[in-house]
Subunit: 348 residues, 2 copies
DNA sequence: TTGTATGCGTTATCAT
DNA sequence: ATGATAACGCATACAA
């Protein structure tokens, strides 16, 4: 025999008034006698009344819920970003339904439908790696469901987006290898090309070489994906080349890929940066702790989450100023793996 | 002029049948002519019908939603645990409302009320540090809202709980320092004593000393909290003691606290483990990457999340076998900071 | 200031 | 096999 939850009706009955007066009193609406309001509030407390958000959502046609879709939840970038999102949305009175696509297109499509069914007021999404067609997203846009992409964006379907300056970041870190260190034969461990950050970072890499008149070798671009294992195997391919063709420096699409590359280089009996220099992207929490601390590009994940959430809330509440592609700046973090600060590694 | 969402009523009107038949057809209920079912499914697809989960929840008195409350979202333990939770719940058809208390009692109370208003079917919670009174939790229990604690538990209020074997883990790692290394004067950087893991680990520490007839010094137990900064200042207090009273080895309540202690010891010009040995707890992703890799206790975070979610779903669906305190085993990870494997640090 | 009728979108129940 | 009606808990619109 489970005790049922107390509703506004019970409060009304208890006080011999109508449900409407109870509703008005509890929601601080005008046209309620102060005394009745007090009585309502008191008996509500006494009875342990908790308003039913579901019923409220149904009648208000608004859930105050935002759906979040991330491809990975362990990866350090996303927890940070989620913290930024949570900070903003909770202040605006929204709460989050968290879902994760596990980098899988089918699963992403599933969770998006779930969020639609739950009538979320808006969606924040970072695209899964394996998604090839943007149809699912276009459908959301057609339904006029507010959507903001973050980190992994989709271009050309008229949707808001907050990302880091991937192209510029990749360009600058590559230029560092060219201008400061003058390494010949610079390679790139690339991300999947149908994911915006994979594509943008390769572009930045190429632009750097081009603008500095540095040679570009098609064979030195190898797809590695976003994880350590992919970095390891991609780097191994480069190491299997004849020594005179092997890269002298490597730009990895992100830090995990760089970690994999580090391991491959060490397994091959070579030293970083003396034999092969290496830089990453994302400033993973582990980067500064590697045997040779990794030179990388810092991504302000918290900032990205925050900006994306702010934009989404603005769209939902109708105060948004049109469709934007917001870009958050990155910062170079120069450590040792590029060849800088080498003396600090030597004892006394 | 926003196009309204299509409802079951539209489908019914379109086909000249009743809403009930539509509902039955769409939910694979019996007593529907196969032909009508097909027609319903087709026009539903054609019209882009998406069932309203809110309305469904209201009438079914069930939301298929689980609330998750974590004290920290960046800390590496919780993203892992959440992944375990997500894995289980999504398979059972539930989705997650994620909230975070930021280790703050007031905020935790707020989000719990939010989850109540949203009529979640159950709650998974890891207690915030600053919560002193368990009243809020007891209230949830009284409402018969299914609750399972994970990692940071609350005892004695008759609620399910999944945690790692904190006492045993702390005892074993302390015994390692005693039995293998025979260090005199072993200190403990403790966690807050009103948090279960803080209390259990101190207990394990004491039991180890006791059962091995090893001296216990009250002054060598200093509260450090769970973060790096607390570890640093607590360790500093120990270092300020006269050298002959200073600990020869330190058991930190968790890895971040140990990192802080490492820094303090280094800043003091002392070496780990030659001058002071140190062990942590949690096997943070950074632990193996420290200058002196940290000996620690591995916590299976994914496993904890998974087990907690499984228990909660069982409680919700009425298949639970009574109140349990499930304990997941830990594993010692012996690296160098305790004094083991020292030769591997020396060059060739 | 307060109350009544109506609707939000769905399912349960009882008819037909 | 199908339909009519009520109900879930609340808020809007209008009447009193």
């Amino acid at each position: 025999m489970v005790k049922k939850r107390v509703t506004a009706k019970e409060i009304a009955r208890e006080l011999g008034i109508s449900v409407m007066t109870v509703s008005r009193a509890l929601n601080n609406r005008p046209n309620v006698d102060e005394e009745t309001r007090h009585k309502v509030i008191n008996t509500a407390r006494r009875l342990g009344y908790v308003p039913n958000g579901i019923a409220k959502s149904l009648v208000m046609q608004k859930t105050f819920t935002i759906g979040v879709v991330v491809p990975e939840i362990t990866h350090s970038f996303f927890p940070e970003a989620i913290r930024g999102i949570e900070e903003v949305t909770s202040k605006s009175g929204y709460h989050l339904i968290l879902t994760h696509s596990a980098e899988d297109a089918a699963r992403e499509s599933d969770v998006l439908h779930l969020l639609e069914r739950q009538r979320v007021d808006g969606i924040l999404i970072s695209k899964a790696q394996t998604v090839e067609k943007d149809e699912v997203y276009e459908q959301l846009v057609r339904q006029r469901l507010p959507v903001v992409f973050f980190d992994r964006c989709v271009q050309g379907i008229g949707v808001n987006c907050v990302s880091v300056n991937d192209e510029e970041g990749a360009k600058e870190i590559t230029e560092h290898l060219i201008v400061v260190h003058r390494y010949p034969r610079i390679a790139h461990l690339s991300g999947p090309q149908h994911v915006s950050i994979g594509e943008a970072r390769l572009r930045g890499f190429k632009i750097a070489l081009q603008s500095r008149d540095w040679p570009f070798y098609e064979g030195l671009v190898v797809e590695a994906g976003f994880h350590e294992s992919g970095g390891y195997s991609a780097m191994t391919k480069l190491l299997e080349m004849p020594p005179e063709q092997r890269p002298r420096a490597v730009v990895a699409v992100n830090d995990p890929a760089a970690f994999g590359a580090m391991k491959a280089i060490q397994d091959w009996g070579l030293k970083i940066p003396q034999d092969i220099a290496l830089v990453g992207f994302s400033d993973d929490i582990r980067s500064e702790l590697m045997d040779t601390p990794l030179t990388t590009v810092h991504q302000p994940a918290y900032e990205v989450g925050k900006k994306a959430a702010e934009k989404l809330v603005a769209v939902i509440e109708g105060t948004s100023s049109g469709i934007e592609e917001i870009v958050v700046g990155t910062q170079q973090v120069i450590r040792n793996s590029c060849g800088c600060n080498l003396e600090s590694n030597w004892p006394g």
